[in-house]
């Protein structure tokens, strides 16, 4: 591909509008507040914003239960506020990606209200999946095992069961009924005409249902996505579709198609293995999963993250690994939710700055586009006692003033209490403090993001692991036609020596990228390095013999 696409070079910042900044003092973040904070976002150096759902919704699943696809929830502002935000973001060179929840709506959506009252077999009724019994599709697993007992729920108004893969108040749309996709394509056109740069396609693996299957990743689902992609390509060039499919890399690769489905997809299995590798102080879990990751079409890209708005999902690890992860990262059972751990990055890392830096160095140097979850750039903590995943969705901590500077409302009026514990509370962890501290995590993250953007090889370059006897050290080469970058990471809490087989690069001079420091030239002997606890190096390998 001659020129990497914008999403292949992006650094994405994920945020819920409600959590970022409250401009009108009602205790809930809003679009005017987000506009006020765009200078901060721009100063981070990120290039793209991913907004969690902001549409009208009863908010029983934090907005993923949408009641109207083409409006803004009144708590977050008006449609014009969104337009102003979009324009302001674009003025700063920031792309904006929003959510497209294809799989289901809220029960309160007019489509469902109409369907439940429509005669069985009618077009209106067929917008959703109905059954006279709750026994169809028995091979489909229940995803929210902590709160749901069945994928079917009885609707007394319709006198039938409706199908839902997630909460019982989120009926699944029926894509076997063509008007459903037509409606959703109109939604796509509505937002893209306004200028949004892409959609994150939520729960994209569950669009179709077929008897005798797990109702996941079905060919019919891929056919729907191909139709969506054709529609977007024909009308809206330079836009992006990001698939949320929490499956193994081989299955997720199917969502790229032949470059004719989604442009991006999350690499879900990588994240728990990074945490695992760090805890066992062994590179193998990372090497194994990246080696098991098939190549993807040139125009596509992995979306990488350390943490996000959901629990740290452990669905993609085996039982032993899951037990280990629970013991290692959630000794307190309160931290566990569904099949995962509901904690932010800093608490998972024990607030260890070196570990935070190491993990971010991996996030920013593995093949893919990194996503930073709001607040993780300052090491925000969480509140696992808030229920569901709300503990990682608390107000952004701007200052050490009332409500963390997030809102002028009375504290009880906030949509969520701010984090107040002595380690991660807003008095200790906030943007204002870190702006004034030249050595803060915030400043470090800014530098790392800036450095990453200088080297397109991080976005689209190839990945080759470098042999080293010491398995506590992970070494790999990222390479494109311009640059060759050697990344070396010490996954352990103690100093480590390592001898790297770099004979293929004999004659090159490693330049340590953060300080532009020249190291001894690579020769025919193993290249010897020592790394401090959780230390990492990024080297630019410069050829001096040409």
């Amino acid at each position: 591909m001659p020129h990497p696409a914008w999403y292949q070079q992006a650094v994405i910042y994920e945020l819920p509008v409600k959590s970022f900044f409250d401009s009108n003092g009602d205790g809930i973040g809003d679009f005017p507040g987000l506009i006020e904070k765009l200078d901060y976002i721009e100063s981070l150096g990120v290039t793209c914003l991913w907004l969690l759902p902001f549409f009208p919704s009863p908010l029983r699943d934090d907005g993923y239960d949408i009641a109207d696809y083409c409006q803004v929830h009144p708590s977050f502002g008006m449609l014009d506020d969104f337009r102003r935000f979009l324009e302001a973001a674009h003025d700063r060179g920031l792309r904006v990606v929003i959510e497209l929840v294809l799989n289901h709506t809220s029960q309160e959506h007019e489509w469902f209200q109409r369907a439940r009252r429509a005669p069985a077999g009618s077009s209106e009724r067929n917008y959703y999946v109905w059954s006279d019994t709750d026994t169809a599709y028995p091979d489909a697993r229940i995803i929210f095992v902590d709160s749901e007992r069945s994928n079917w729920t009885w609707d007394p108004v319709a006198g039938a069961y409706f199908w839902h893969r997630f909460f019982h108040h989120q009926p699944d749309l029926n894509f076997d009924h063509p008007p459903v996709l037509e409606e959703l394509l109109r939604v796509v056109d509505f937002w893209m005409a306004m200028g949004v740069d892409g959609f994150r396609l939520d729960a994209v693996a569950y669009l179709a249902e077929r008897e005798g299957t797990a109702c996941e990743n079905l060919p019919q689902t891929h056919a729907i996505l191909k139709t969506l992609r054709r529609h977007v390509d024909a009308r809206w060039p330079d836009r992006m579709l990001l698939a949320e499919a929490n499956h193994g890399p081989a299955e997720v690769c199917a969502y790229f198609g032949a470059g004719d489905e989604c442009h991006m997809a999350y690499h879900f299995p990588l994240m728990p293995r990074v945490f695992m590798a760090l805890h066992v102080e062994d590179r193998q879990p990372i090497v194994d999963i990246l080696r098991a990751t098939p190549p993807i079409p040139d125009s596509c890209q992995w979306a990488l993250f350390l943490r996000n708005h959901d629990e740290l999902t452990l669905e993609m690890v085996d039982d032993d690994e899951r037990d280990y992860m629970y013991l290692a990262y959630s000794a307190d059972p309160q931290a566990r939710l569904n099949v995962g751990i509901r904690r932010r990055l800093a608490p998972l890392m024990g607030n260890n700055r070196r570990r935070l830096e190491l993990l971010n160095s991996l996030l920013f140097s593995f093949p893919g586009t990194p996503i930073v979850y709001y607040g993780d750039e300052i090491g925000m903590g969480d509140n696992m006692y808030l229920g569901d995943r709300n503990g990682v969705r608390t107000p952004m901590q701007w200052t050490n003033d009332r409500n963390a500077g997030f809102s002028r409302a009375d504290p009880p009026q906030l949509y969520s209490p701010v984090v107040m514990d002595p380690v991660y509370g807003y008095q200790a962890v906030n943007v204002e403090t870190q702006e004034r501290d030249g050595a803060s995590l915030l400043q470090w993250m800014r530098n790392l993001i800036g450095l990453r953007k200088l080297f397109p090889a991080f976005g689209v370059g190839s990945l080759e692991f470098v042999d080293a006897a010491n398995r506590k050290v992970l070494a790999y080469i990222r390479r494109d036609s311009h640059d060759t970058i050697l990344c070396v990471a010490n996954l352990s809490r103690s100093v480590q020596p390592v001898e790297l087989d770099l004979r293929a690069f004999a004659g090159s001079v490693p330049i340590e990228m953060l300080g532009y420091t020249e190291f001894p030239a690579i020769g025919s002997q193993p290249y010897f390095l020592t790394l401090g606890p959780y230390g990492f190096y990024w080297f630019e390998l410069q050829r001096r013999d040409v």
Partner: protein
């Protein structure tokens, strides 16, 4: 970079604005140059006027006669053009150049050579010196080198040239000149570039074109043309602070934009064409080193606080040592000056203080450098003075690693 367009015309463009006093002679010289040096090739003359209210266009047409090869190119203008204080004297300079280059590209020009309608000293030989290397397919971009008194063009000598040379690897000593020649391939490259809509284009466009040619890996050369004298357009009274804010701001904006390129670039050959003309204007700019040193001292007292946002303590201490020196003794070390400029470039990128304030706070430092430079070249001939500038440029190259290291991992010297 692509092969030269071998079949197209040699296109000469005049960019004019209120140039009634000079445009006739410029047009005749260019016409004569085309006739004398490119007689066997098709030629076209383009007039691109940026909104003159005098008889500039009529006089240009009159000078060129009713030849069929004369094309008047309309320049889209904005009301803001006439409200701006133009550094270059031509409102909407970037738009005028864009229109000219677009026309040259559409004509698949073999070479396009650009002149400023306000220059009194254009000769037919300039046309050949600039355009011939492009017509021959040897290079894609030819910048001029004008003979100047050592004091003349000091901002270019002290900042623009050394920075462009160190970062982009090309030795174009006057990269901000209005005159140049380019290939169609380069014109197309420029026209595809996003530099036309950038803030500061009126002062920066010439520098940006030179930098884009270098960053695009086009072959560049420099042609010695002699003395350049310009008629007054009224911009000569622009104060030093505004000039520095505009020119250095434009330069730093380009440095920020091309960071990926210059951190990888190596020094490369820049062909120097023609014999240097050593005759210089007999009327050198009046420069008073005592006043410059006093401006430096005053700036140190008043602006040191701003400097501490971008200059590390070591540099501040080194600058402080200069306070004790008289104008005769005053010497600002080349490598120190290079680091000052690099730290300001990083400050421009990081914005610890407003960019305009930052750039204006550079003025006393520049005054100090100028005093030092004048003290070193005041009794040197042009060639020796050029060598002095070359030594300065070498210091910028030596300190490039300093810039890269701090650019990649900036240190916040002051916060809060």
């Amino acid at each position: 970079m692509s092969e030269p367009a071998t079949g197209g015309a040699v296109v000469a463009g005049l960019i004019t604005y209120q140039d009634a006093a000079t445009v006739g002679s410029v047009a005749r010289a260019v016409r004569a140059g085309l006739a004398a040096h490119f007689a066997g090739l098709p030629t076209r003359m383009l007039i691109v006027d940026a909104g003159s209210t005098d008889r500039t266009v009529a006089l240009a047409r009159e000078a060129l006669g009713a030849e069929a090869d004369v094309v008047e190119v309309a320049t889209p203008r904005s009301a803001a053009d006439l409200l701006e204080v133009p550094y270059h004297g031509v409102p909407g300079k970037a738009r005028a150049l864009h229109a000219l280059l677009s026309t040259a590209r559409d004509l698949t020009a073999r070479a396009c050579v650009v002149f400023d309608g306000g220059v009194r000293t254009v000769t037919p030989a300039w046309v050949a010196s600039l355009a011939q290397p492009v017509v021959d397919g040897r290079v894609d971009y030819v910048a001029p080198f004008f003979a100047r008194h050592p004091y003349e063009g000091a901002l270019t000598k002290g900042v623009v040239y050394p920075l462009i040379r160190a970062l982009y690897g090309v030795r174009l000593r006057q990269p901000a000149a209005a005159e140049f020649a380019c290939s169609t391939a380069l014109a197309g490259h420029w026209l595809r570039h996003d530099l036309w809509a950038r803030h500061g284009a009126r002062a920066g466009i010439d520098i940006w074109l030179a930098a884009a040619a270098a960053a695009g890996d086009f072959r560049v050369a420099e042609a010695s043309l002699g003395v350049r004298a310009h008629h007054a357009r009224g911009e000569e009274g622009l104060d030093l602070a505004s000039t520095i804010a505009q020119v250095i701001g434009a330069l730093f904006a380009d440095v920020e934009k091309n960071a990926r390129f210059w951190q990888r670039s190596q020094s490369r050959a820049t062909e120097r064409l023609g014999s240097p003309v050593v005759a210089v204007p007999t009327d050198p700019p009046a420069i008073d080193p005592d006043r410059l040193v006093e401006a430096f001292r005053l700036g140190y007292q008043e602006l040191r606080d701003i400097w501490t946002w971008v200059l590390p303590p070591r540099t501040i201490v080194d600058l402080k040592k200069l306070l004790e020196l008289s104008a005769r003794e005053f010497r600002l070390d080349d490598e120190l000056w290079a680091r000052v400029i690099y730290d300001f470039a990083i400050g421009y990128r990081m914005r610890p203080v407003a960019r305009d304030h930052l750039l204006r706070s550079l003025v006393p430092l520049y005054s100090g450098w100028l005093a030092s430079y004048v003290g070193q070249v005041h009794d040197l001939g042009p060639e020796a003075a050029d060598l002095r500038v070359e030594a300065l440029a070498q210091a910028f190259e030596n300190q490039k690693a300093y810039l890269i290291a701090r650019w990649r991992w900036p240190e916040r010297l002051r916060v809060g």
